[in-house]
């Protein structure tokens, strides 16, 4: 049992945090997130250059990390900075053939992961997207950064059951839109699109996605908590700082307690990723992150008061992204329902 990060991971965390501090401050993020394309090709290239994509993959996959703890570390940092670039799509590239995956790691090829469908945010066994004779048809919703994608990694049913398929972007019909929490997404329809069946089992990619979303949520929670505690110490009413009111102190402590529990849930999921407990602990992490995420987002806004209702105040954007991480790939109920059988 050891909770200290390895030297390699400590260096990776330093690299990530230095880059995000220097190059991805809140104003920059808001410009990127609200821009016409909703991401930055320039920063994406820099992040690939720094190895932030490569860290998501094992050495035999062409990367230099790929452990659950690498994925958790990267996404926690991305969460804290509210990064909108297409990391979730890149993470799913584990399912791709080696040559494409290496292009993804280099930042040249951008995949989007298309899983949720109208009415099914997570369910693997109720997919209505189907593949027959190598042709994929169906609709996926709210696919993150779909317009940026060169290829789509798509979950679908064929005669052997649910699996992952690769479809080139030229065969995807997009209805694109800006996202409530920044960046862009699209509903994507495929109509007899030529599709290549990928060998990676669907659940291994889903478990990685659940871990990444939970870790991202954790990073945002920490940011929300820090901002809130700072504000409580600064803002004065009735002649004293808000931080002196016990009702508010206890609510802040409840936030800290649940965030620590979420950190433990992410550690559990990272530890078990790739092992027999992977699905169980990924579900537990997503449940915990979704339930806690909503609490943190709502409490952070409430404890601030009116200022957190404004576009100008950065907490509001963190709260929005935190809330949306819970909506994606199954909310707390979806994963609570799955948990007992896992």
């Amino acid at each position: 049992m050891d909770f200290t990060p390895t030297d390699d991971r400590r260096m990776l965390a330093d690299t990530l945090n230095r880059f995000l501090t220097d190059r991805y401050d809140h104003d920059t993020r808001m410009k990127i997130a609200g821009s016409e394309i909703g991401w930055s090709a320039e920063l994406w290239a820099e992040m690939a250059e720094l190895g932030l994509i490569g860290a998501l993959f094992a050495e035999d996959e062409g990367g230099f990390g790929g452990h659950g703890f690498d994925i958790a570390l990267i996404f926690e940092g991305l969460g804290r900075a509210l990064v909108v670039e297409p990391f979730h799509g890149a993470l799913a590239a584990r399912a791709l053939p080696a040559d494409q995956r290496e292009e993804v790691i280099a930042g040249a090829l951008i995949p989007a992961f298309a899983h949720s469908e109208p009415g099914t945010s997570f369910a693997q066994d109720r997919l209505r997207t189907t593949v027959t004779d190598g042709k994929l048809s169906g609709t996926k919703v709210a696919v993150a950064q779909a317009e940026a994608a060169h290829i789509f990694i798509v979950s679908a049913q064929d005669s052997d059951g649910p699996a992952l398929f690769m479809v080139n972007a030229e065969h995807a019909n997009l209805t694109a839109y800006p996202l409530f929490d920044g960046g862009r997404g699209a509903d994507v329809t495929f109509d007899d699109a030529p599709a290549t069946r990928l060998s990676a089992p669907l659940d291994t990619v889903l478990n990685r996605a659940l871990l990444a979303l939970s870790a991202e949520a954790l990073g945002i929670m920490e940011r929300c908590k820090d901002t809130t505690v700072d504000y409580l110490k600064t803002r004065r009413q009735f002649g004293i700082p808000l931080s002196k009111f016990q009702a508010l102190q206890h609510r802040a402590v409840d936030m800290v307690t649940e965030i620590e529990q979420t950190r433990s849930a992410v550690i559990n999921a990272a530890h078990h990723l790739g092992g027999p407990g992977a699905s169980k602990y990924a579900a537990a992490a997503k449940y915990t992150a979704a339930a806690t995420g909503r609490m943190i987002s709502e409490e952070a806004i409430q404890l601030h008061g009116g200022i957190a209702m404004t576009w100008e105040y950065d907490l509001a954007h963190a709260a929005k992204r935190l809330t949306m991480t819970a909506q994606i790939m199954g909310d707390e109920d979806v994963h609570l329902r799955r948990f007992p059988a896992l």
Partner: protein, 393 residues
């Protein structure tokens, strides 16, 4: 970063399990599992077994009879004991007074009292709370006035757990009214057989006699029974509150109770109720998370970090989890939680069984464990501590 225990730690766990299998009697384990009333003899029997093995005072230094374990070993030991349904070690002598004497006691006090704690000669109880001093402990009024070579103690302590069995009581007493209330408190050891002490039972809401009032009327206490110096009692009390408490989250107890809950639910109408399944899954996940939170705090402590306010988080969340499991257990019994048959919780009860397994003690466990969020610094006090120490609020 690695959640696995080391091979050495796993070997230690196996050693503990094997020892428990050989030394924890089925009679005692069954009494604990089914929340039967433990007698003084039951508790002394268990202490004696642990002491014979050298595992009773598991956080004392080796030279005073401790086994030399690190925090992780202590956690493993306490966890395995809970899973095996071993009786709790009565904490007052071993876990509370012991560490205080080790840090603040004179050589004479250590030499006299520590061996008697280990061999069971002295049964200790704790004299902290008073009718007017609960969460606001520093407002305590029980007075000790120095007269020559002794103190004269007058006042009243309350919530004195198992005081009816005790030979000695360690007390916080007021020795000065100068300055802040915290500055006039001393830590005094008092023989329960001294003239002027009266113990009166308090019956709890489950009908049990677990706690007491202890009244002091002109009780003469030798001055050498003072621990530390006069008026440093608050420092000692605070030391005990932040003293490393590896088991404060009760993860082992919760794990055992959750397993019982899942087993028993299968016999009830809740077996195929999805709403109930969701409630169980929620607390199951919270407990899985808490196991790791607890280990993280332990690892920080083992690495030299002081687990101060973090143990308050463990206490708050850990007790909430335990209480929720008790509440679900009670609810699983439905109307069959109602029979109130005290004899059913005694050895050798041969009356008719009413309800599913656990019906006899579901309500008792639920109501009795409401204390968890009240004692040892209420959960609200714990939140005050976290707010101040971790958040600087």
């Amino acid at each position: 970063m690695n959640l696995n225990f080391t091979p050495e730690q796993e070997a230690f766990r196996a050693e503990v399990q094997e020892w428990l299998a050989d030394n924890l009697s089925a009679r005692l384990a069954d009494k604990v599992r089914t929340s039967k009333h433990l007698t003084k003899q039951d508790m002394e029997e268990w202490h004696a077994k642990l002491n014979a093995k050298g595992w009773l005072a598991n956080h004392w230094p080796v030279e005073h009879g401790g086994p030399g374990w690190d925090p992780v070993q202590r956690f493993i030991f306490e966890h395995e004991c809970a899973l095996a349904h071993a009786p709790r070690v009565v904490p007052f002598g071993v876990n509370m007074l012991g560490p205080v004497l080790l840090k603040y006691g004179t050589d004479e006090q250590k030499a006299h009292y520590l061996p008697r704690i280990l061999d069971g000669t002295d049964w200790w109880c704790q004299g902290y709370s008073e009718p007017g001093a609960g969460s606001d402990l520093a407002s305590l009024k029980t007075a000790a006035v120095r007269e020559g070579d002794h103190y004269v103690v007058n006042g009243q302590k309350t919530w004195t757990t198992l005081g009816q069995h005790a030979d000695w009581i360690f007390c916080l007493v007021r020795t000065s009214k100068e300055g802040k209330p915290q500055e006039g408190i001393s830590f005094l050891l008092i023989d329960m057989n001294t003239a002027g002490i009266e113990v009166r039972p308090i019956y709890l809401l489950d009908g049990d006699h677990e706690v007491n009032e202890v009244w002091f009327t002109d009780v003469k206490v030798p001055a050498e029974n003072l621990v530390g110096t006069e008026n440093m009692g608050w420092t000692i009390a605070k030391y005990l509150l932040t003293y490393e408490r590896t088991g404060i989250a009760g993860v082992g107890f919760s794990t055992a109770a959750l397993a019982e809950l899942k087993r028993v639910v299968a016999q009830t109408e809740k077996a195929d109720d999805p709403l109930f399944a969701a409630r169980v899954a929620k607390v199951d996940i919270a407990l899985e998370n808490m196991k790791t939170t607890n280990l993280r705090v332990l690892a920080a402590a083992a690495g030299g970090g002081a687990p101060g306010a973090e143990s308050s988080i463990l206490k708050v969340k850990g007790t909430e989890i335990r209480q929720e499991i008790n509440a679900l257990f009670l609810r699983a019994m439905g109307p069959q939680a109602q029979p109130f048959i005290s004899e059913a919780l005694e050895d050798g009860f041969n009356g008719p069984e009413t309800g599913p397994d656990g019906a006899a003690y579901a309500a008792k466990d639920y109501f009795n464990n409401r204390k968890l969020s009240i004692f040892g610094g209420s959960n609200e006090i714990q939140k005050n501590i976290v707010s101040k120490a971790m958040l600087g609020m």
